[in-house]
Amino acid sequence: MPESADLPTARAAKLPAATLDFLHGASLTVADSTAAYDTLIARLFASVRPSDPLEEIWTREVGDDVWEAVRNRRLKAALMTACADQGVTEVLNTLQVPGYYELSKRWSAREPQATAQVDAILAKAGLCMNHVLAQTQRRRIKDIERFDGLIEAALARRNMTLHEIAQYRAHFAKHLRRVADEADTIEDVDYSVVAPPLAQQNGEGAARAAAATVA
């Protein structure tokens, strides 16, 4: 999978010593960039610092969901590119160009003569590549919708996981506060009123006597 701006660049990523690796199935295919994935996960771990196994699982899943959404976007773009010849065929057919099928096949093979010919035909009809893309989308609308559904599902799962982390941490903070409060109470019980030292008592007595003398 080629590098792109929507993922961190592949560099030596130092992943934390994860304790629950065995729980995660393989997330990457041969075509995926392991370095980019590791960098993404390492960044998430460095930012979030999961403090227990549940948080570690959630953090990894957020990374996996982001990765999955990006991968599906790329696959959708690849589908549009791979099927562009179908869009060209549709447009040329609509324009009643003779030999449109062969021309579109040559265009998809990037033959310079065919590319120039298609560009000229489109320009003459006042059309552009957007029309070709629209026709391609029309032809593959079911698959595109499926990809959109997968992308949305991945993002929804990511949001749900973030929500779970927020709830869990709120619950943990509440519990921690309560235990801490209880610890404070226990310390209060341990304290007792201690009589001041004798010297201090004598000093206070002398001060009281001096005040009475002044009065």
Binding site: S51, A82, C83, E182
Partner: protein, 162 residues
């Protein structure tokens, strides 16, 4: 009489159009439930159920500061079970993703991927409720001095991953 004839025709037509007819079709349909096996419960497989138990201990021990037992162990297994399920779904999805990366026009792989995605969503939902229940039982504020029993869990949580 007309009703009887209609019912007879209906049954005859239904017999004609229901299910595969050829031996090959019947064999293919018989394998429908065994395509990925993700509907089968994890605990039905002895190897996976051992893995669930192991995972439950590894997940919950740092949270409660000790080995889970009784109700806590049961809830921990309920957390671990969908986690193992999610892993199975992901393992099943991987070859389909690879097929799509090789050929983005592969509609069959895409359809199957959408189906498998549902299994992951369900497993995650199960895990969400299991975690909530575990937190409510094991990390809930308690009324008497039993709060001290959960305090080591918090200390263990702090020291997790250094």
């Amino acid at each position: 009489m007309r009703r009887d004839r209609r019912a007879f025709s209906s049954r005859a037509n239904a017999q004609k159009s229901t299910g595969p007819k050829t031996p090959a079709g019947k064999a293919a349909a018989a394998r429908n439930a065994y395509r990925h096996g993700l509907n089968l419960p994890v605990l039905g497989d002895p190897a996976l159920s051992r893995e669930v138990d192991d995972a439950a201990c590894k997940i919950v021990t740092p949270l409660i500061g000790g080995e889970p037992a009784g109700r806590q162990r049961e809830l921990a297994c309920r957390i671990a079970e969908p986690i193992i399920d999610i892993r199975r779904v992901r393992d099943a999805k991987l070859p389909l993703i690879a097929a799509l990366q090789a050929d983005p026009k592969n509609s069959a792989a895409l359809k199957e991927l959408v189906v498998l995605d549902r299994y992951e969503r369900r497993a995650r939902s199960r895990r969400k409720f299991a975690i909530r229940e575990f937190c409510a039982v094991s990390l809930a504020p308690v009324e008497d001095g039993a709060a001290a029993a959960t305090a080591p869990g918090i200390l263990a949580k702090r020291s997790y991953l250094g």
